[in-house]
C-alpha cells in the first residue's frame, strides 16, 4: 500500500494544500517495516527502510494488521481515523508532538490515502 502512496498524495491538490508550508521528515512503521516520509511543501517522497541512525521529527507506529484494517475502504467503525487507533491503543506517537499536531489534518489525509488505491 505504501509503495503506491506518493502519487495518491502528490496528484491530489486537496491533500497537498493541507501540507503547504510543511518541510519535515517523519517515520511510519508497519510492525517491523520502516518508511521515512519526507514532506516538501506538501509534496511527499517515501523511502523504504530499514534505516540506521536516520533522523525524524516524529514517528507513528502500529502493527501491520492494524494498518490493513485502517486501509479498508470503507474502514470499519473504530478503524477509520488515526485518533481512532490512538483511542484503541493501537498506534503510538513518538518525537515532536507539536509538529504532528500542527500538521494533523495533512497527516490524517496522507495516511488514509491508500484507501483510494
Amino acid at each position: 500500500m505504501i509503495e503506491k502512496l506518493e502519487p495518491l498524495v502528490n496528484d491530489n491538490p486537496t491533500i497537498v494544500r493541507w501540507g503547504r508550508g510543511m518541510n519535515e521528515t517523519f517515520m511510519v512503521e508497519l510492525g517491523s517495516e520502516q518508511y521515512l516520509f519526507k514532506v516538501s511543501d506538501g509534496k511527499l517522497a517515501v523511502e523504504k527502510g530499514p534505516f540506521v541512525m536516520r533522523s525524524w521529527r516524529f514517528a507513528i507506529r502500529a502493527k501491520a494488521q492494524c494498518w490493513e484494517k485502517f486501509w479498508q475502504n470503507p474502514p470499519a467503525p473504530g478503524w477509520h481515523d488515526l485518533f481512532a487507533l490512538l483511542r484503541r491503543g493501537d498506534v503510538k506517537f513518538e518525537g515532536d508532538q507539536r509538529v504532528l499536531m500542527a500538521y494533523l489534518l495533512y497527516i490524517k489525509l496522507v495516511l488514509a490515502a491508500p484507501r483510494q488505491a
Binding site: P74, P77, G78, D81, F83, R88, A102, L104, L105, K108
Partner: protein, 276 residues
C-alpha cells in the same frame, strides 16, 4: 433566492450576550452544540418542516462559542467549562426565554450534560435526547495542543473533528462541520474538553436518573470513537428506562455530518415525545 425559515437574535442572559436561532412553533426543543462548535450544527433540524410544524426548535451558542460573546475579562484567564456552569447557563436560558417544559437535545458534551439535567431538573423538562452520550471519556490525547501558540488552533481543532466523523457521511456536510471547528476561538475547544475529559465525570451519579419523570433517549453514531456505542451502552445499562439506538453509518456529529440520515432517526423520537 431561497430564504430559510431560521431567525437569529441576541438575548441578554444575566451578564452574557447570547446568540440563538429558532424556527417553528409548538413544543420547545432546545438543541445543544458540541465542544468547540456552535448552533449551526443543527441547521437541518431547524430547516425540517416536518419537525418545525410541531416543535419550536431553538439552538443557542454557548458563551465563548459562535456569535455569543465571551464574558468581560475573558482575556485574563483560561476558559474552562464545568458541570455547574454548563447546567446553569442552559437552565437560565430556558427560564429567561420563558420556555415551558422544553425537550432538550445535546450532542457530545451536550449528550453528557443532558444526564446532569436528568438528575437535577427532570421535572422542568418534557424529555431529554442525548446524542453521542457517554458518562466519561478517559483522555487519549492531550487537548493542550489545540491551544498552543505554535499550533494553528483552527487547523488542529478541525483535524480532530474531521476524524470523529463517519467516512460514509457526505463530504460537503463533513467539511462544513470541520469549518465550524476551524472558526472557534483560541482555547475554547480545550476549555470544553476540560469538562468532557476531566471535571464532568458523571459515572457515579447516573444510576439515580428517573426516566419515569423525564424520558431519556440515547442516539449514538456507530463510527464515533470518542463517545462510542459501547460508552452509550454503559449509560443505558445503568439508567432504567433509557431508550438507546445505534445510528448506522454516522459518527460523532450526526446532525451536522449527515443531516438526512440523522433526521431519519430523530423524527420518530420526536413523534413519540409529542404523542406521550
Amino acid at each position: 433566492m431561497k430564504l430559510e425559515p431560521i431567525v437569529g437574535r441576541y438575548a441578554h442572559i444575566g451578564e452574557q450576550r447570547v446568540y440563538f436561532e429558532e424556527a417553528g412553533r409548538g413544543i420547545p426543543l432546545v438543541c445543544l452544540h458540541t465542544a468547540g462548535s456552535d448552533g449551526r450544527q443543527y441547521r437541518a433540524v431547524l430547516n425540517d418542516a416536518s419537525i418545525t410544524q410541531h416543535f419550536r426548535v431553538i439552538t443557542f451558542d454557548m458563551p465563548w462559542h459562535g456569535k455569543s460573546s465571551p464574558p468581560a475579562g475573558w482575556e485574563k484567564a483560561d476558559y474552562r467549562l464545568t458541570t455547574g456552569a454548563y447546567t446553569g447557563i442552559i437552565m437560565e436560558f430556558i427560564r429567561e426565554m420563558g420556555l415551558e417544559r422544553p425537550v432538550v437535545m445535546g450532542c457530545s458534551i451536550g449528550g453528557r450534560i443532558v444526564l446532569d439535567l436528568a438528575l437535577k431538573h427532570a421535572r422542568e423538562l418534557r424529555a431529554l435526547i442525548g446524542l453521542q452520550s457517554g458518562a466519561f471519556v478517559e483522555r487519549y490525547y492531550d487537548a493542550a495542543w489545540l491551544d498552543h501558540p505554535e499550533v494553528h488552533g483552527g487547523r488542529a481543532c478541525g483535524a480532530v473533528a474531521y476524524g470523529l466523523m463517519s467516512p460514509l457521511s457526505p463530504e460537503k456536510e463533513r467539511w462544513e462541520t470541520v469549518w465550524h471547528y476551524m472558526q472557534g476561538g483560541p482555547g475554547v475547544f480545550t476549555g470544553d474538553l476540560y469538562f468532557y475529559q476531566v471535571e464532568g465525570d458523571i459515572r457515579s451519579r447516573i444510576g439515580a436518573i428517573d426516566t419515569s419523570i423525564c424520558p431519556l433517549y440515547l442516539l449514538t453514531g456507530e463510527y464515533d470513537y470518542s463517545a462510542s456505542p459501547r460508552d452509550t451502552e454503559a449509560v443505558a445499562a445503568r439508567v432504567k428506562g433509557a431508550k438507546m439506538t445505534v445510528m448506522k453509518g454516522l459518527g460523532h456529529f450526526p446532525m451536522s455530518e449527515d443531516p438526512e440520515a440523522f433526521l431519519g432517526y430523530l423524527r420518530p423520537v420526536l413523534e413519540e415525545i409529542r404523542r406521550a
